[in-house]
Symmetry: C2
Subunit: 203 residues, 2 copies
């Protein structure tokens, strides 16, 4: 440890921008950007604090460890995905199409795509990041999706659907394989919707 | 550049294990291991040469640049995938099931899984690696697969099938989301085969 010990550890500074109701949100936003730009390994508590314009002690105060900041950043990044149970709850008919269109909308938006890709990238590279993602994806997302499904092994079915959307995102937005990288999103929805429909509704 | 210039640049050393018919294969095997263990960024021509027990000049002699070694390592790693056009050529009936079982077999085998994951990981992190993978996957794999298909937009269809298998591999072997990480491979084949069948054969 070459960095100086944080001032007033555990007690947020009360000067400047260093606190207030917006501080936690600023830290989360900075964390999301730092993890997206630098990756799990290179992002640091100190760098996140600096980007948020707060004392490093405040980051520790709100989130404890780097893994906990990462988990919170995942939660913010996956917030759109947390709407999925609501989409599923609207009934089985047309669910595959609604879900495909919704997911592709999240990936098409650079603001939501970048942190999602950063999280997948980190999880592919660092087991600590994979573990945090695994815990979040399972507990917060897939199990909630599964609770809305009337199929055998609902979590497994939700995972198959998720795997397809993750794979499409990687080939389209990262590897940029053509024509997948350039086709209209409706072309993807048209072919993928029946797959999701089958996974999520057929016994 | 702090490393010393390679001795006898472009002219392989003729001493010790430094040449002979097995040298190229040893270099490729070492490259595959180095890229798998260290990633695209940290693998170096010198490290690959050392692991192969050859002079760095020999690696340059056979492969030129790091990107070219990476491309050759991709080719070796994807060799099993190059059998896919033959699988497709056997006819449309049951093609989804044969392909799903074949792909999962490749991923189940740790010897083939590790380098494939390393390549995907590198491509997710480094645009240079993504570019090499993109070129290879498109030219050598997906276009060959597409040439066997009798559907509209055959390359797009091949990409959709590939995206699903890549996504399953990431959730099962990297993120290790349960139950997908532990289910019997036949459970996966049973559900995924009809998806691949539809993408690859239905108009």
């Amino acid at each position: 440890m070459t960095e100086p010990a944080p001032r007033r550890r555990g007690r947020p500074s009360r000067t400047g921008d260093d606190s207030g109701p917006g501080a936690r949100e600023r830290i989360l936003e900075a964390a999301r950007t730092q993890f997206a730009e630098r990756g799990y390994d290179k992002a640091s508590m100190r760098g996140i604090a600096k980007a948020a314009g707060v004392d490093a002690a405040l980051v520790h105060h709100y989130f404890g460890t780097k893994d906990e900041v990462f988990a919170a950043a995942i939660e913010v990044s996956f917030e759109p995905a947390l709407a999925v149970p609501a989409i599923l709850g609207a009934g089985a008919e047309g669910i595959g199409e609604r879900l495909a269109r919704y997911f592709i909308g999240v990936w098409e938006n650079p603001a939501t795509r970048a942190p999602l890709l950063a999280i997948i990238r980190s999880a592919l590279t660092y087991e600590a990041a994979a573990k945090v993602l695994r815990g979040f994806v399972l507990r917060r997302l897939l199990e909630r999706v599964a609770s809305e499904l009337d199929v055998p092994d609902p979590t497994f079915r939700a995972e198959l659907a998720a795997s397809h959307m993750i794979g499409i995102a990687i080939l389209r937005y990262v590897i940029k394989a053509e024509p997948l990288a350039s086709v209209d999103t409706e072309e993807i929805v048209k072919l993928v919707a029946p797959t999701l429909q089958r996974y999520l509704t057929e016994a």
